[in-house]
Every structure is written in C-alpha cells, then in structure tokens.
Symmetry: D2
C-alpha cells in the first residue's frame, strides 16, 4: 500500500477526516467551474488542453475505477462507456479515447457528467464509512492519491480555461477585473549556498508522490540563488536586446522551436497600439512589469539566463535552498489567479506565484521504483524529455505543494503558470 503512489503514509486516516477532505476537494472543483457556460466546458483548442468537462469527468473516473471498482460490493459502472471515454493514459485499465479528440464529445453533456459526479461521490462516501477495516488503509491511501490527483486537475482546469479563452478573438473573461497591483519588485540579491553532500527527496510523515522518493544523497557544488524570480520588466530587456533574434543564446532545439513557432514573446503576450498586453483569466490586461514573467518555456528561460550570464538552478539546488523556507506564498486560495511582485527578503517567491523552471531533466531518483499495476503509470512513464519545475504557482492549492514536489513539462510548453529564478556558480 505504502508503495502504491504515495510512497509514504497518507496524511489522514480517520474516516471522518478523509470524508471531509474528500468533500472539500470536490467542492473546490465545483467552485472553479462555477463561472463556466456549458459551451466553455466542451471546447478543446489544442491537443494539450482538455475540455473542462473532461477534467471533471476524469477525476470522477479515477475514484470510480480505483475505489468503487476495487472495493464496492456488486460494483456496476455508472456508464460502461465512460471507462474508455474518461481514461487518460492508464494502459493497464484498457483503451483510451484519444486525447486530441476530447473536444469531439458534445455528449455526455455537462448535466449528465454532473450526475455522474454526484453518483460516484455518494458511493465513495459510503465506502469511506462502511468499508471493512482490512480494506481501509488501502482505500485511505488511494483516496489521498485521488484528491491530490484532483488538485492537479484543478490547476489544469485553470491552465486549459485560460488557453481556450485566449484562442477566442473576443477574449472572454473567466473572472472580473481587480485593481492593478502596485508593488514594486525589490532589487535582485544573491544568496550563497555551500553545497556538499545533501539529502534530496521526501522522507516525512505525510503524503507525497512516488517520484519524490526515495530520499537519497546528492553532491552539490557551491552555488548562489537569486532572491526572487525574473520579472516581466527584466524579460522585456532581453526581448529589446534581440533575445528572440540571436540564435547563439539558445539551445539548438530551442532555436528550432523559436523559428518553427515564430516565437517573439512569452505565451499570452500581444503587442497593441499602447504597447504590450497579456491575456489573463481576467481577460486582456496591461502589464505590471514588476510581476514575475510567466508562461515562458524552458527554452526561453535558458536563453534568458545565458543572455544574463547566469544559469537556471538544478532541481537539487532548488530543493536544498528551500530548506527552512516557510511554505507560504501566493497560492490559488488568494483568488488572484496571477503572480504578484516579489516581497523583499533573501528568498522571496520560493513557493507560489509561478512554478520555477530548473535545468534538471525529469529522471527517476536512484532506486526509484514505480508501483505495480495501473497506479504505477502515474509518474514513472513520463520520465523522459521533460524538465522539472518546483514550488507551485498562483493557481496551485496550498495544500498540494511541498519542497520536494516535482512538477514536469516538456521544454517547449508554456501554458503552465511557470517562470524562473536565476542561479550562479560558487
């Protein structure tokens, strides 16, 4: 059980506590969907961005498949056909409806999917209360995983809604406008770390994903880390200095991407009559250039760092540097849905605001072992071609993140709320 996915004990084992957590996470998903029209739930404007409807069906499928099907006496699926329709990538569970065709499903309608959610929720609650004690530890562990899984899809909902809305020339707003932040970003400072043989990975007493384990030793050279993320103003300097026209600043694959995609700025930026604007979940906005730059790819972050004579931190450096930094920041609970300018201090923005790109390829930790069966497909099979991001963002639930948490995306992807912080040798 402990090796299923959450390689450690779940945070909660008391049945009532699990039930409350279950309800809280499920209601949070509902809250995210509240401003959406039925049509908004349905569209898919890129292969990588799923319809909102699909997310909320899939997170229900997860509980139906791994809790109900495994533990409910006399289990009958809500709808046999959903097994394929809402399976994301679990080969062990069977066929999947192809990802780029999720937007082809006008049916089941959102009303029908809400009925699906309600039905499965009700039955999961029963399991929580009535499952025999022998099954309970496994069930508790899987529900924990299911809730963290749903939190990941909550973040994906924000990402995908933002992307889908950005593709509409009339620029719909998911949320209303807020007064523009007026804070200024503090000057950049550097904090030095001695390195040496350090411990990396999760070894505490709560939940974590299997890719954070096992805790192991890594040798790190002395390094320095910037006190805050790179701002939009700083990124504009790079752009104005010809960053997107200078191939020697870029990794070879990065430059190929710049040329193929005709990149001239981060995702969601457009240049209008009055200068640059950015698309947000509140529609098109003027810039507050002291905000951290967001929606840049690994390639862009890497090119900026080369231009600045610095580099990105490794994920080990980042994790080591985060030791002792309180897990506080601008998370989704703030309701801003945008990063904020940094606060003064040596280590601002380590958590929240933007996921921080690192230079580390997403690889298994030494002696990492994926679980057997479907849940073993959760993380391990993605360990190629992607890079690690750390620290959570303004659309991540606070309870979802840890210092050891490893997020991962392809180096050309940009629709995650991601930015970066510079590092330097010695």
């Amino acid at each position: 059980m402990a090796t299923l996915i959450g390689a450690n004990r779940p945070q909660r084992t008391d049945r009532n506590a699990v039930s409350r957590a279950f309800d809280a996470v499920r209601r949070a998903t509902d809250g995210i969907c509240a401003p959406l029209e039925p049509e908004d739930f349905t569209i898919q404007t890129a292969d990588f961005a799923s319809p909102a409807k699909w997310h909320i069906a899939h997170t229900t499928w997860f509980f139906e498949t791994f809790i109900l099907e495994a533990f409910e006496p006399g289990f009958q699926p809500f709808d046999e056909r959903y097994r394929v329709l809402f399976n994301s990538y679990y080969q062990s569970v069977g066929e999947q409806h192809p990802r780029p065709k999720r937007g082809a499903l006008s049916r089941p309608s959102i009303d029908r999917i809400r009925a699906y959610r309600a039905d499965v929720e009700e039955r999961v609650r029963k399991i929580i209360q009535q499952a025999p004690e022998t099954d309970w530890p496994t069930i508790a562990c899987r529900i924990e995983l299911g809730l963290h899984h749903e939190q990941q899809h909550q973040e994906l909902l924000y990402m995908d809604i933002k992307y889908n809305f950005s593709q509409n020339p009339i620029g719909p707003r998911y949320a209303g406008t807020r007064p523009k932040a007026s804070d200024e970003a503090p000057a950049l400072r550097w904090k030095r770390f001695d390195g040496g043989l350090v411990d990396i990975g999760y070894a505490e007493d709560g939940f974590c994903f299997d890719n954070e384990t096992p805790r192991h030793k890594v040798h790190i050279e002395p390094f320095s880390l910037a006190s805050r993320c790179v701002t939009a103003a700083e990124y504009l300097e790079f752009m104005n200095d010809g960053g997107y026209d200078t191939p020697t600043l870029w990794l070879s694959d990065g430059w190929a991407t710049v040329c193929e995609q005709n990149w001239r700025a981060p995702l969601y930026w457009r240049h209008g009559d009055d200068g640059w604007q950015r698309f947000s979940l509140r529609g098109w906005q003027d810039f507050h250039t002291d905000m951290p730059v967001v929606h840049v790819s690994f390639y862009e972050a890497d090119a900026f760092a080369r231009w600045a004579g610095k580099r990105l931190p490794t994920e080990h450096e980042w994790e080591h540097a985060s030791t002792g930094v309180p897990l506080r920041g601008n998370f989704v609970e703030n309701g801003l849905l945008d990063p904020l300018p940094a606060k003064p201090g040596e280590q601002s923005q380590m958590f929240g605001d933007v996921w921080e790109l690192t230079s580390s390829a997403y690889s298994p930790y030494p002696r990492y072992q994926a679980a057997a069966g479907a849940l073993g497909e959760y993380n391990g099979k993605f360990m190629s071609n992607q890079t690690v991001l750390r620290g959570g963002s303004c659309v991540t639930p606070h309870s979802h993140v840890r210092a050891t948490y490893r997020n991962f995306f392809y180096p050309d992807q940009r629709w995650c709320f991601q930015g970066f912080r510079l590092a330097a040798n010695g």
Copy 2:
C-alpha cells in the same frame, strides 16, 4: 439587381409574402436546432464541418451585412466583432475567423447568438415593411438570396451534426428511431435519350443561383440513364468483389485517397459482429440494403461505375433527362432524414433521396459572369477542383431545388447525403 446572384427575378416581391417566407425559413432553422444541447452547438470535429452555432450565427450575419448594413438608416452592428467572427469567406467584407477554428469559440454562447438572431430578425422585418420603394427590389432580391442561403445552411446543419455525432464513440442520436423501411428496390431499367443540341441552364421566371446561368446550348451524344440510384446492396457487391483493393478500377487521385484515408467502405459504415451497420441521424442502424448507397465520394462512384462497365452521367445529360420529371421526392419535409428505396418507374429518385454525383467538373457556363462585390463571391470562386451534383436529397428543403440546380463538392468529400446513378453510351 438581376445580376446580383439570383440572376433572375425573385419568386416573391410582395412585402407580406416576403415577410412570411422570411419567417418560415427562419423558423425551420430553429426547428432543426431544437434537439440540440448547448454542447452540440459548439463542437467542430473536422475542418469541413462547422459548429451548429456558427451556422445559425452566420445566416444571421448574412442578413445583417447585406440587408441591415446596406439599407437600415443609422445602422449599428449588434456586435462589432461578429463581422469577422461569422463571415464565412467573403473577402470583400473583410477578414474572416479561420474556418478550422470555428470550434474554438465557446463564446458567444448559444443564448447570446439566439439574442443576435432575434435582434436582426426584428430589424429585417422592419426593413421589409418600411423600406422605400426604390430600395425594395434590391432588398427583395437579397432576402430571397438570403433565404436560399439559409436553406443551404439548413442542409449543412444536418450534414455537420451527423458528422460530429459520428465522431463520438457513444453515438448520440439526433432523432428517434423509426420503423425500418421495408420496400424493395425495383430492378434496374435503362431509359435512352437521343441527345443532340439541347438547352442547359435556368431561364424561367423565379429565383436561381448565378451558376445556373446563362442558359446555353450543349451538344450531347445519345445516352442511356438508369431508372434509379445504385443501392447499398449493389455497392456491397462491388466491395465484396474487391473494389477497394483493385487500383485499376480507380482514378489515380482516387486510389491515392483510398490508400491515404484507408477507405474500405462508404463514410458512416462500420462492420460489427452482425455485419455492416451505418451511422444515421437516428444513431447506429442496421442496413436496409435496398436503400440507395449514400455518403460515397465521386472517386468511389466513379470506381463503382468502371467496375460495372458503365459510367456516371454528365451534368448536362442529367439535366436534359430531368426535363418533364415532376419535382417530387423524398425531401427534408418528409422528416425521414434518410433516403428511401426507389419506386418503380423509368425515372425514380431524380429529385430528393440523395444528391447525384455527375462526371462533370464544376466550371462556369459559357458567358457566366459573377456579380461585382461581395455577393459575387457566392459561387464563382469555387469553380475549380470540384464536381457537380444534382437533384437534392432527403435533407434538402423541397422549395430549394430545381432541375438546373448545381451543387458541388470536392471529389474526395463524402459527408453530403450523396449517391449516384449510372449512365451508358448510346
């Protein structure tokens, strides 16, 4: 005026008659949409198939642009942004939202588009009643065109809904099941025509599209025409005889399409445990093999004809043969949404059931002249690479079709309700 599009006089010039026609066609569109969920209105599952929502906005855009903008005093658009969003291909009117991205528009929602329809309808009705007499002939002509335009989109709605639903593994039904037709197709007979110098094109007193004009002389050799369309049973013989595996039966471009698309049967056929089934607007159905084969491309019809030792008729032969055949048949008003087996007789199914593929490339008639301005883009610019179809189908409004009517599709397209009838020399 006469040269606008309808090259001849409109059928109706009385203001009340126009108003009634306007209301009738608009309500028919509403009727087609009645069974749809908001999600069904929104999806686009192929570049060629537009969302239902788009069709009903675009047909409103047509009246707003060509009636209100031209004739309404102090015209203000309902929403400035719709000018681009719902322009299909009128370069003279300005930019267009790209066709393959029509499914990216969750907003405006269907409710908002219904408000758009209601607003424009109300204002058009006012124009009909109040426009000065000097403008009226042009307005009447344009409304006539707009109504025929909307009828074309009514047929496209059926085509696109069918295609979109077919892409959903759960196979939604647009309409309920009906008892299976039990008629048998009569044996094939041939009717001989002498040919000679014949008149082709529209020259009567009602509405027609400009591509049906001018009426002109064509010299035709003697030929024979089959008494009915090729049936699904006959097409199955071709398939069972290796039709899709025999390159020598196909045009070169046709065979390339067979290989690239991996065609093994008409569109919407699938082979299950109990033999072939077909997808219809009533969901997956068993075959009634005496029905005409439908949803075959020009390439498939041409290959079948070669296999059968016959050929397709030219559009001139078809039009000449239709002289004196009453304009009756299985049109959309029947509500079947499927073709029916042929009736006995020398010339069954000439109108209705399925659009009939001809061997004629879609080219301008001698001395054809497209109108100046936007409405001149209606037909003329499509006169390359397409083939002509004749006679209307089971999803065409009866009032929309004429013997001289020229429909056109690319030779690899299949989602129109189209079949074919054989011809022979001499």
Copy 3:
C-alpha cells in the same frame, strides 16, 4: 491495336522507318543528358520532379515491358528488380517504387542504367527486324507509343533538371548563355471566332493519344482570342497592381494556395538588388520582359485574366481557333530552351514557346474509352482535378505536338513551361 492508346494508325509502319525513328528519339534523349554529371542524374528535390536517371531508366522499362516481355521469344529481364523500380504508375504491371523516393536510389548507377538502355535497345532493334508479320502491327503501334512516351519524358527531363538546379543556391547552368533576345512583343490584337457547332478531337491518319478521341461535336459561343500570349511585362503590371495581395481576384483554392505557398511571383523569379531575375536552364538571367510569362499556375493565369477583365479560353475554343494555323514555332529543336517574344500577326505563338493554360478541366471526351490492360492506364486515370494545356513549348519536340494534343497539370503546378493567352466573349 487501334484501341491500345494511339487510337489511330501509327504514323510509321515500315520496319526501317520505325527503326530510324526509334534511334532518332533514343539519341535525342542521350543528347539531353550529355551535359549532366552523375550527381545531376541522381537527385530529386521535390516529389513531382524525378531524377534524370529515373527518366532514362523508365523510358527503357517501357520498351522492355511492352515490347520485349510481350514479343521477345524466351524473354529474360535485364534485371528482375527493375520491374518495380522503374514502373511509374502502371498498376496492371504490379508494384511501383514510391515516386517521392526515386531520389533514394544511388544504385543502379548511371553507368549501369546506360548498360540497361543499350541492352534493351539492341533487343528492340532485333524485334523490329525479326518479329513475325502477325505481331508487327501491334509492335509498330506500341513502339510509336513508346517513342511519344519518351518524348514526353524528354520534356520532363528539361522541367526536372531546371527545377532541381533551381533548388541549389549556387544555381548551376545546364547550358551556356546566349545573347539576350532583343525582339519586342507586338501590341495585343484580338481575333473573333463565330463559334457554333464545331468538331473537336483527332481524326486524321497518324498517331494520337487516346485522350484526343473520339472526335465529336461541341457547341461554342462566339469568342475572341488574343493574338499572342501574355508577356512578362504585362504580368509585372498585375503584380505591381497588387495581384498577389487581392483575394477577390482569385479562385478560392487559388487564394488558399497563394497564402500557403506564400506566392509573390511566378516560379523561378527572384527579386535581387537590380530588380527581378529568373532562373533558366542557362542559370540566373535578367528579364526580357517582352517574353511570354512562363511557369505560372492555372490559378495565377486565371487571376490575371480576371484582373484584366478577360478570361482564359476553353480547350475547345483553343482547338477550334488553331484550325489552319501552321504547326510551326519555337520548339526544342531551336535549342533556345526559353520562349521568345511573339511575332506580329493574328495568331502568334499558338504552337511552341509555352504550353497554353485553358479554363477546361481535363475530362474524358464523350464516348472516350480507355484501352484494356496496362496501356489503358496511360491517360484515362488522370482525368480528375487537372486542367488542359495546349500547343507545346520551347522544350517540346516539334514532332510530338498536334492541334488536338491535350497536356494536363494540376492547377497549382508551375514547373512545366506554361503560360497563357487571353480570351473574351463575343
């Protein structure tokens, strides 16, 4: 025999005459290849342009397959593997090496292919002298066809060498420079034709391709035809007037091609510091703007005609107008490899200089019947999506062309030496 391909009697039946014709055409092919390096024979820089080596092997394969295999006692192929390797598109003969991969064949080397040519030639000559009288009519007919086939590939050799060389930044020259033509194009004049019921198609006593038959009646409206082809100077006016920026001038498919391919000028034009230049078989050249424009697609010709308020002639109009025009002009025998400015007169350039684009889709003539077997694949299966060109060009052998000759290309293709002449109604 008569229905094989050449639907009529071959021009030559005397064995010695056939032998001389065979040698003359084969030596002409050798002459075209004389300036090529082994590397030039091998490359393929576009799917549509075959390596020179492939052409000279394929024209030998044609004789080996249709003469030797059919009529040589105890036939053994020169190399069994060439049957697939050098089959172009004859499904009846069996598999084909894929066209886009012809450039993958470094072996057989050009030396080996020359040995293949020599061997097959020797054996064909023996057949010509020794075949029994009963076989001779068929053999003579097939050799006639084989020689016209080889002449088509001679023209393709020029087209493909030009295209391949144009793709090389160092712009190799196939032939040396010549003094620039100094003639001026005469002012455009119009010749009127009454039309009426005219005869179209070949019915004389020599060789023709099956697609020129049967001769049949066509009704033509009165029309006028320009006295010469459109010149480069006139085409420049169209360009300078924004021709490539004005969507309303274009067929819908044409405009899509302009946008996708980013067309700004005819193929082989480039704009350098000193104005426009064009690539020719003699390398990069300054313009002689009185030359007919060449290497424009059907779409470009059609857009120009619309801009000019005229249209392209139909193939019937062109053929009818050519009656009585002597079959003389600037053909390949001139050795110029470029078109020349028109001569004064009512009907200059009808033959030679540039293939003339017509508005006619390439369709079968009434009662056209392709032959049975492989040779029936020669023309018929290409009768969709292409347009007809007439009159031959500066790289066509004089003996290859007739007034009834129907050449055909796709409407977006440009690498043929093709231009156009305007027509008008009435």
Copy 4:
C-alpha cells in the same frame, strides 16, 4: 585556448606529429569513401542522414573556417559560397544551407569537392609548418579538435551510408561479405560496485571535448552491471514475448513512437521467409543472434530493461565501472563494420562493438562552461532532450574514444551503432 573545446592540452604539439596526425585522419576519410560511386556521395534519404559528399566537404570547411580564415595571411576562400553550403550549425559563422536539403546539391560534384579538400589540406599543411610560434598553441589545439571532429564524421559516414543503402530496395553492399562469426555469447554475469562519492569527468593530460569537463564529484548508490551487452537472441525473446505490443513496458513517449512509427523490431531488421534478417554495410545478412543487439533506440532499450526487471545504467555508473578497464575492443580498425559476440570475462564489450545507451539525460556537468564564439557551439547547445551513450562502437576509430567520452542522441534515434547493457540496484 584551453577553454576552446578541448578543455585540456592537445595530445600533440610537435609540428611534425600534428602534420602526420592530420594526414592520417584525412587519408582515413578517403579510405571510407573509396567504395562509393558519385551517386552514392549525393543522396540523402532522411533529414538526419547527410550525403557523404556533404560530410567530406564539411570537414574541410571546418579547417578552412577555423584554421585558414583565422591564421592564413591574405586568406581567400576556395569558394565564397561554400561558407554557407557546408556550415553545419555554427550560427556564429553565419547562415547555413538547411540540413534536410543537403541532398539537393548535385553540384559541386564530388570531383570539385575533392579539389576543395586537396586545396585546403595543402594550405593547412603550410600553416602547420610556417605559423608563428605565438599562434601555434591555438592552431595545434584547433587542429586537434578538427581531427576529432573529422573522426566523428567518419563514424557518421558509416551510419549515413548504411541508412541510405538500406532505403534502396536492391540493397547495395558497401563492403564484401565475411565469414559469419561463430562465437557464442557467454552467459550473463553481474559485477557489483559499492558506489559512494566518485569522480566523474576528464582530468588527464590529453585531448577531450568540453562536455567531459569539469571533473566533479557524484554520489552513486551501490549497483551491479552486466558483464556484456544484451544480445540479439535476448532481444528476440522480448519481441516474441510481445514487447512491442505491451504499452505498460514503455515510457509514454516511447509508446507513442512505437505507435506512430509502427516499430516492430530494431532498425534494419526485416522478417523474410526464412526468419529475421538484418541490413548491414555488407548487405542483407542472416542473424548471428549471439551478437549484441544494435540499432535500438533508448526507448527500446528502456522497455527491454523493464521487461527484464532491470534498468539501464546511468552514465555515472558506466564511467565509474569503466575505471581500470583497458581501452580495447572491436573498433573500426578491425574492419568488421559489425559488432562481435562478447568475450568471457566480467566486463566485456565496455569499449567498441556498440555505443551503450545509458539512462542519463545529456546535461551539462556542474560548472560546465561552453567556450566563447563559434567553437562554443560544438557541444553545449545540444544539452536538451538527448540521452548519453558511452564506449564507442565497431565504426568508431580507436583513437577517438575515452572512458569519459559522452556521445548523445535523441531517444527515438536508431541509426547510430548503438546497443545497451543492463544494470541493477545494490
């Protein structure tokens, strides 16, 4: 100088020794090309495989650009246009002819390129003898780099010739047949390593590439390494056990590649009537299944390891394990052009036979610093998305490899002579 690319001292500084090394490497390139026809030099059958002609021009361009242009008084290029034509990817040097279009260059002919080689060689020899002492250290360092660069292209020549020939249905042979190896692979044994804090990277006194530096400490867990590479027989077991049909064995990106590319076996395998055959530089061969499997991608090696319950070694583990293993093996000097079965012993095949795939992403070593200028583009900019291979192959020059040598390819590439060795924890 030291930081140019070779981060350490060149192996040779004596002018005569450099001159001899220069001649030896250049003559080796000539030797590889000896069996080629002019046509073989020219073709390009995949974007990743360059024409032989291009390789031998580019390796000359390297010396012309980095030696002659920098150090020859009054330097004039052999041909101005070659600067672009034969630049591979050095953005600092300027434009490059696009890689996928290298096969479009029939000119310059191979004869002309041989003249280019001879001219540049002669001039480099002069520089070697006559350069002032102050320049000499830099020149010696760059020539050293140029020779290692040319050795890399020697290996690419073998790879690309093999690939190009494999695409030809007649399967040309680069070299004659040899007697089939009869050795049997010894049973697999495991050697255990304690791990701990180990030193990784080059720190000796000769030449190395910059990506092997700086030497640094890495903490390794205890592990075991197989005594030899996985054999073709063992890989066949994986295939016969459904390896290519079992998605759960594969990385997600790997499985997507299997499906898209329709992989069923390693590259160059085909299944004929008598079982599996493989394409080699000696043409199609029956298998010697005790040979190491070769031409498998990282994805296939990773899937095999998962199937076998093992894993691939990291590059650190491999390098650590190679300590003390003599740098001997089946290199190109053997002339076999194929790997050999393993020899008995604890650590067979560590060098030569096949490049060994590791699980390590190709990333910069801590404090890695690419050089300034064009030569800094040599390695650093490829440090994303690729995986590291170690140990050299049967087509690698013996003098080219080191224990610290880091080769790298994309995880879906297979045309390198690459295989793999298993590792295990503890």
